[in-house]
């Protein structure tokens, strides 16, 4: 006979406000098999856990039900606690009476009755729980980092410096990401490339880092400690081993007028190109869409001039499989554009700002390229339309961000600061110019951030106007900005030479597709979801996958670098052990019942089911049954639902446990 202990948590007032916890404990205490039931203010606190441990020992409890918050929150905490009191952790279950009850119902009576039923269900379930031994699997001590921006570079360097091999995959021809595009960085105004390029070179030279640039993730299989990742190395048309990076091919390439994505279309590049001079690797790539050789079969100049013979028009995409034990996702961000969006898209553009058709209305990243000393204008702020220096420049914040009507309701976090920086850069370069900023709130939390913002107003004389802009239109060579100053309560009109929009930060295109390959969750904007907003901010709910940088949410450089190092630390924690303990929620075959129809094998998404021959002592084959490899099993239970005789069972979710819960209703 089981001796179940039930512990009902008040969660401060979070539960007890709507659920009569004492009544729950009293009622549940009467259930058969329950030996002990009590309530406590904070079960997850130290005294709460001690109460639990003490009760287990004193009351000789065999099973435990903690009625508190969601198991996604504290199941681990309590399972650890019962383990330290000598009970197998899987004999402890949580009844969710907070997220699923007290927080979502107002009526105290209804909520209390529901709580009693929820706890009752879990009591019946826990009776059927079995002791589960921990499963250990080997760990492949290599790591995959997806994305070669500052986040990916930092994570890769940290892990590699610790002595573990890193596979770094970058979609673009060069690593560097958005940070390589920036001119100077807030709040110190140090040159972005000066601090970025040495790190890029470190990556290239690090003996433990294997860099796949111009490559994408094709397929991810396996599980924590044992992933098999298929990487598509896109055809670069230049052999990386042979190329010396002399640049002669680019010099000779006759197609020179392709807008450079790196320079936000302000500058031009050739059809065979490196995105920017400091690119890593410094190996050009042929843009097959624009190359004459690929379009018409003629030309071939680059091949002719290449000394080492590195240009290879026949190159094809290659698929490479890399075994890794952990994955850091650092795919970064993309900028919102005000252009007209396809119908049905959640995101809308800004028609009132001309849908991106006014040439001198640019976004923040374009301004960075204008201000960058290595940019297309050599660091001069000039208008894209006519190359004149703008004397009246208007910055508008919160474009796309905090605008639910436009499809995004979050704050992009970095725009207030970079706009302040832009006003400074502008003032440094155009001494007789005037910068105006339309803003709603200035959000400057961060070390030395607010001081930086104040400096832009007080010393660099930017005029900040609290109020938004309703419309922009071209009038002659000016852009009329129709805004308002809500402090004064009047409309404001500025005839500007140039307008810079602080457009929102969004996840990279295709972030959802990658998430599906990785099996990680993402929010409605396609930002990747961390396992816990506060306590597990760099881990995914999927074990062995970690997040770094803006793919998880808008972030500035210091936060990105911190998170990248944190993710690296998590990977190193994982690699510190040779064997990995994993939750024993895996399927097991009851061989006596198995008739070998292998429906389980047909539906298993992991390929974890094998055929096992059963032989008699003479070695004669008696029959063939299914066998589940516990290391490979993901624990979904599809096999069990499919098995006609229910001869395969998922530990932790057995039919007995589930039927017990249904019957408790």
């Amino acid at each position: 006979m089981s001796r179940i202990g039930v512990f009902v948590c008040h969660c401060g007032e979070n539960i007890s406000r709507t659920v009569d916890v004492e009544r729950v404990a009293a009622q549940v205490g009467k259930l058969p098999g329950v030996a002990f039931a009590t309530d406590y203010k904070y079960m997850c606190s130290d005294p709460g856990q001690n109460l639990l441990k003490k009760a287990i020992i004193e009351q000789k409890l065999s099973h435990v039900v903690v009625a508190a918050c969601s198991p996604r929150m504290h199941e681990r905490t309590f399972r650890k606690a019962v383990e330290s009191a000598g009970i197998n952790p899987f004999l402890c279950e949580m009844a969710n009476i907070r997220e699923h009850c007290s927080w979502v119902h107002e009526n105290r009576e209804e909520a209390t009755v529901k709580a009693i039923e929820i706890v009752g269900m879990m009591v019946e379930r826990v009776k059927k729980n079995r002791v589960l031994p921990t499963i250990t699997v080997p760990v492949t001590k290599r790591s995959l980092v997806i994305g070669g921006g500052i986040a990916g570079i930092q994570a890769a360097l940290d892990i590699a410096d610790c002595g573990h091999e890193v596979v770094l995959v970058e979609r673009e021809p060069s690593i560097g990401g958005h940070m390589a595009q920036l001119s100077e960085t807030f709040p110190t105004l140090d040159c972005s490339q000066c601090i970025m390029t040495p790190k890029m070179v470190d990556v290239a030279n690090h003996p433990k880092i294997k860099l796949y640039s111009y490559s994408e993730i094709e397929l991810v299989e396996g599980y924590i400690g044992n992933f098999q990742v298929t990487i598509r190395k896109k055809a670069r048309s230049v052999d990386e081993d042979k190329c010396t990076g002399c640049g002669l091919c680019m010099e000779k390439c006759p197609i020179k007028k392709i807008p450079s994505k790196f320079d936000c279309n302000l500058g031009m590049r050739t059809a065979i190109y490196v995105p920017f001079p400091q690119a890593v690797p410094n190996t050009p790539v042929i843009d097959r869409e624009n190359c004459t050789k690929f379009k018409t079969g003629k030309c071939g100049l680059c091949q002719k001039v290449c000394g080492p013979g590195a240009v290879d028009y026949e190159q094809e995409d290659r698929l490479i499989v890399e075994p890794v034990g952990a994955i850091v996702v650092a795919t970064g961000f993309d900028l919102y554009t005000i252009n007209e969006k396809p119908k049905g898209s959640m995101i809308k553009g800004y028609g009132e700002f001309g849908h991106g058709k006014i040439p001198d209305v640019i976004d923040g990243m374009t301004f960075e390229r204008l201000a960058s000393a290595s940019g297309p204008t050599g660091g001069k702020i000039l208008r894209p339309s006519d190359g004149k220096e703008p004397k009246q420049i208007v910055f508008i914040q919160c474009i796309g961000s905090r605008a639910r009507e436009k499809g995004i309701s979050y704050c992009s976090k970095v725009c207030c600061m970079y706009t302040a920086k832009h006003t400074m850069l502008y003032h440094h370069k155009v001494h007789d110019g005037q910068a105006y900023v339309f803003f709603m709130d200035a959000r400057t939390p961060g070390k030395s951030y607010d001081e930086f913002w104040r400096r832009s107003i007080e010393e660099e004389e930017a005029v900040y106007i609290r109020g938004m802009v309703s419309r922009l239109y071209q009038k002659g060579d000016k852009i009329v900005v129709m805004g308002s100053d809500i402090a004064v309560g009047v409309q404001v009109e500025i005839e500007a030479d140039m307008v810079v929009l602080a457009t929102a930060i969004q996840p990279q295109k295709g972030a959802d597709t990658l998430a599906q390959k990785l099996g990680i969750s993402y929010d409605k904007y396609n930002f990747y979801s961390e396992a816990h907003a506060k306590l597990r901010p760099v881990e995914c709910a999927t074990a062995g996958i970690y997040l770094a940088g803006a793919c998880q949410g808008p972030k500035d450089i210091p936060d990105t670098v911190s998170q990248a190092s944190a993710a690296a630390a998590k990977v190193m924690t994982l690699f510190a052990k040779d064997q990995l303990e994993r939750e024993p929620i895996v399927a097991r075959v009851r061989e006596a019942g198995c008739v070998g129809c292998f429906y389980c094998k047909k539906v298993c998404p992991y390929g974890a089911v094998e055929e096992k021959e059963i032989r008699d002592r003479q070695g004669n084959l008696i029959r063939v049954v299914a066998y589940v490899n516990p290391g490979v099993c993901g624990g979904c239970g599809t096999c069990q639902a499919t098995c006609p005789s229910k001869s395969v069972e998922l530990d932790g979710y057995t039919d007995e446990q589930i039927v017990a819960m249904i019957e408790a209703l």
Partner: protein, 166 residues
């Protein structure tokens, strides 16, 4: 805006079979966002919709459920790669079977609710509760459970003869 809590004469019992990664997390989100929904639903957590055996739905109805909800990750979002795809086929077939034996499918709802869709969870649960409430109790299985023995008619002459001989 707080509407007066209405008193209902019938409170349906709704059982929800949900996957832990998406819908359970979505229901958690509804909680952390303090959204409100009817208290009629009881949630059973599964690792994946792929684990949900049609027998459980049957069992739930037999145990007195007036409505059953099965909910998991959107296609492509399955934590276990493809569990929800298998579930989708399985339940597409099973609901046809239940319909054929005379179960009103309005009592059986399937949905995809992701971890980010607390609002959708509330909507799905509220809709099902109200729909089932309007339909009244699920009498079929309850009556069946009360019947001890054969309630069928003695149709064939052979049966009649046998019966009379007892």
């Amino acid at each position: 805006m707080h509407s007066e809590k209405q008193k209902h004469s019938f409170e349906p019992k709704i059982i929800a079979f949900v996957c832990t990664w998406c819908t359970y997390a979505g229901a958690d989100l509804a909680g952390t966002s303090r959204m409100q929904y009817p208290s009629n639903v009881r949630v059973l957590k599964f690792p994946c919709t792929g684990r949900i055996d049609p027998v459980f739905i049957l069992k739930a109805f037999q145990q007195g459920a007036d409505g059953v909800l099965v909910s998991g990750c959107h296609p492509g979002d399955c934590h276990y790669i493809a569990g929800n795809f298998h579930a989708r086929r399985r339940f597409a077939a099973f609901r046809k079977l239940l319909e054929f034996v005379g179960v009103d499918l309005n009592r059986l709802q399937f949905s995809w609710v992701s971890a980010a869709e607390g609002g959708k969870w509330v909507e799905v649960v509220t809709d099902l509760t109200e729909k089932v409430r309007a339909m009244g109790p699920m009498a079929e299985f309850k009556q069946l459970a009360l019947e001890e023995q054969w309630s069928g008619t003695i149709g064939t002459p052979e049966l009649k003869e046998a019966y009379n001989a007892i």
